[in-house]
Symmetry: C2
Subunit: 339 residues, 2 copies
């Protein structure tokens, strides 16, 4: 029997880690995982700091959402926003974007038109040049729809390296689970007023600038959701992260969709929310500044140095009813496939 790719291999959680580990990382010698003095695959992330002198940040992302139009956006808006957000989450000021479009024969040109409009309206809004790209068509018997790959380039004096520190507070900048719940509702035919939260988080750069050195980690919890981001942080630092269920900003519409579908809001994708890890004594101050910029921030938990070494690298949630549960790295078909 031939081993084959499963949908779950693309879930952005443990299965994707396993497949990347097996088919890419394990084949690379350590010295080919980063540039001189730079960051690379030894630090798992979408982006890469090329050179600490130039502080050029490059990120790349493939977007394949189906349907490619959805309440609140399109694959075009998602692709550009997502890549800008990847640059921003590394502390980078986006200076350019490249795109590469793969589209199936027979794809409606009107739809392509709307999609490129969405891409370009964001570039215009934030003054981001598009400096190159590629465009391929695949026969309709090999592919349906459209896939967009984007490359983001940014500059930064102080890239954010995502190392959570003992005593940090964890902040989310807005309601969670919205994009993933919206896609789930579409897939399962559930009526809802939810719209995707997809948007570039450019205003966060003001916070990063103001609180330089205090942003120990920043990430947009897209595929795999908050559960994937917090688990990656806990694993990278060997710390324990504790979140409080009562403090999670989960909108009622998201809750009702997760109750109907059995999905976990912590694994649902967000496309316009960031998670930050900051020193506890600065957390309230950062929350206040985020509010001034129209974010809806909440402190949802903290980072601790666990006494029991078995608790290193894990994430737990104190539930509203007074218990605790382990928040696992997402595994299997998280679904709905969202990006």
């Amino acid at each position: 029997m031939v081993d084959r790719i499963l949908i779950s291999h693309g879930n952005g959680g443990k299965d994707t880690q396993n497949i990347l580990q097996k088919y890419i990382f394990s084949k690379l010698p350590e010295y080919l995982k980063k540039t001189v003095n730079g960051l690379g695959l030894d630090y798992l992330d979408d982006g890469a700091v090329i050179d600490p002198e130039d502080k050029i940040i490059v990120t790349t992302d493939s977007h394949t959402i189906e349907p490619y139009f959805f309440p609140g956006g399109s694959i075009g808006k998602l692709a550009v926003s997502g890549t800008l957000n990847d640059v921003i989450m590394m502390g980078g000021n986006p200076i350019a974007l490249l795109d590469s479009i793969i589209v199936a024969e027979g794809f409606p040109l009107d739809d392509l038109d709307k999609i490129t409009n969405d891409m370009i309206s964001i570039l215009k809004e934030f003054n981001i040049p598009l400096i190159g790209g590629d465009f391929k068509v695949i026969p309709s018997d090999s592919m349906k729809g459209i896939a967009i790959n984007t490359v983001g380039i940014g500059v930064s004096k102080n890239p954010i390296i995502d190392r959570v520190v003992d005593g940090d507070s964890i902040i989310v900048t807005g309601p969670i689970g919205v994009h993933g719940a919206m896609v789930a509702a579409l897939r399962y035919g559930i009526e809802t007023n939810l719209k995707s939260d997809v948007k570039p988080l450019m205003k966060l750069l003001e916070i990063f600038d103001k609180f330089q050195g205090d942003i120990h980690a920043a990430r947009d919890p897209t595929r795999g959701g908050l559960a994937a981001t917090l688990n990656e942080w806990a694993q990278l630092s060997g710390k324990m992260i504790i979140i409080e269920e009562k403090d999670l900003p989960i909108p009622e519409e998201v809750k009702s969709i997760t109750e109907l579908t059995g999905l976990d809001p912590l694994t649902l994708a967000n496309e316009g929310v960031a998670v930050l890890s900051v020193p506890s004594d600065k957390a309230e101050n950062i929350v206040e500044e985020l509010k001034k910029l129209d974010f809806e921030p909440r402190i949802i938990g903290k980072v601790i140095e666990p006494k029991d070494k078995n608790n290193k690298g894990i994430v737990i949630m104190r539930t509203e009813v007074g218990g605790t549960r382990i928040v696992e790295m997402p595994t299997g078909d998280i679904v709905p496939r969202i990006c």
Copy 2:
């Protein structure tokens, strides 16, 4: 009736230019087509110089060849070689690569294994770090096979800006049409011993270094072949390019496949050949140096300032029988679809 994407929209020739013009470039204001002092979409190419002080070169490419294994290589070898070549053709020394893999559910893992092996063996051979990427799985009812997007990053003191100059000689660094003819043979079921010429052209950097300032233009004529490259150069510079059919290094196996299929060898993709435009008085010297590096270079034509203004931006070929024909920018289904 709905207008739809055609296979020909991905041909890398006039139709791709038209669709990019209509759906992307025409929507972008001029000031969003490049970075400050950098190069961007105003200069049509796969890559982009980010900043003339840093001279960071970034290129991106999507690869979708079917079949993904072929004589002489695989989509993995093609993706990495093609992107390194794009960096090199801009005069850049490749310093890093990012990759983004989109693969269909059900794709055999053994094949993925071979493909990533091919990618990584080139990275190892030339010491190029892989510094980031993405990995997505698409349901088998939406896509078959695999698509690989690669981002190449290079540095250069003197990027090559592709401006051919009156009096230049045109050099090709090896036999032409091989990759395209090999794919055509596969598609049409023609028996042949042809193997793809796919390979990184890293050794060209020695030539570029030695003849700094004399390499007026350099390109790897992939999709759209020599015809597309020469037409783009003629159009960009407003010059006329004249090539000699008798001097074209077209292997016998390529000739017999083009005779059987009616394909034009000038439009067939090359994956391990470069075209250079250099001052005539340096051309022989450059040819000699290329030979020392195991290339099989040929001077195939020249650039002139046409007396008749209607001849600006065109490419003509003097045929072996003593006539001339216009070499058009490829249009329609060039095919076989090769990348």
